[in-house]
Amino acid sequence: MTFAVTIPTLTTDRLTLRPPRESDLETLVAFGQSERTRFIGGKRERFEAWRGLLAIIGHWALRGYGYWSVDTREGEFVGRVGVSLHDGWPEPELGWHLFDGFEGRGYATEAAKAARDHAYRVWGMGPVISFIAHENPRSIAVAERLGARFEREGEPDGPHPYGIWRHPGVAA
């Protein structure tokens, strides 16, 4: 007997949400050295970037859902989006991040909407939450574009106080 897990591929107008793979690592190592990690755990060395990539793949194997890597239709790896429930979290969280140079084009909103629709339709989730640092106005703007509303203050667990945002309950 053998177990298997399938990571679906989703497509939007401009983006492909596809399974993470080992060759994503070099992009993630560079991202791990950038200020853009400020609200998602901070800068990390190569080994932690590797461990983070594999932990995402392990999350799929253990829970049957997780984070996709996001490519443009041209195949450029621009960021990550998905739903995760790490140990100690209150419920599954919809999250997103984009790498340097790909912000300001609506990619995060487009990818997060596709991931959220899939989570509701296929995984039976919803309404999901997002954790967003108060000092991260760009991510708050994405949440608002997705129709999410601030619900409550998050349990303090790091240097950046954050809010718990609640998304609308049905696939838009």
Binding site: F3, A4, R46, F47, W50, L54, I57, A61, L62, D87
Partner: protein
């Protein structure tokens, strides 16, 4: 993507890790027993370390097996192939829960894993990479028939590398 097969031995079932195993790993990483594995670690770090090991299955087709008592289903530990990015090669590793120590559980499970990698991948050998202070693991590696190869690179300076000749299993 394919995950772990089920292997059985006289006393044990080896199977794909499942979420319910994590509590045992969190306890291991929180204890001094993890000193030889880079611990202690808090729960969040233990989760990242464990989930990244589980990810080896979809990525590489090998990884850690959860080990259960074949009769009772009691969780006994984790034995399998580990391969973090910094490792020079895939490694045979083991961890048993405190109440399962001293019963030859890791020995029996490791033999099953060695036989499986030989038949599945045709590897001629597999190594253990062990902190020199971890005398119980070194003794187990030697009891399994391995020999210490001081010329091989480990992960950290001073690591003991034990090589098992899998051709002898056939």
């Amino acid at each position: 993507m394919t995950l772990a097969p089920i292997l059985t031995t006289e006393r044990l079932t080896l199977r794909m890790p499942v979420l319910a195993d994590f509590g045992h790993h969190a306890a291991f990483h929180a204890s001094d027993r993890s000193l030889w594995e880079g611990g202690p670690r808090d729960r969040a770090a233990a989760w990242r370390a464990w989930a990244s090991d589980v990810a080896l299955w979809p990525l590489k087709g090998y990884g850690p097996f959860g080990v259960e008592d074949r009769q009772t289903g009691e969780y006994l530990g984790e034995v399998g192939i580990f391969h973090a990015e910094e490792y020079p090669e895939p490694e045979l590793g083991w961890m048993v829960v405190p109440q399962a120590e001293g019963r030859g559980i890791a020995f029996e499970a490791a033999r099953a894993v060695m036989g499986w990698v030989r038949s599945r991948f045709g590897w001629d050998e597999i190594t253990n990479i062990i902190d020199p202070g971890n005398v119980r693991s070194i003794a187990l590696g030697l009891r399994l028939g391995g020999r210490i190869d001081s010329a091989r690179p480990g992960i950290d300076p001073g690591d003991v590398v034990i090589v098992h000749d899998l051709r002898r299993l056939a």
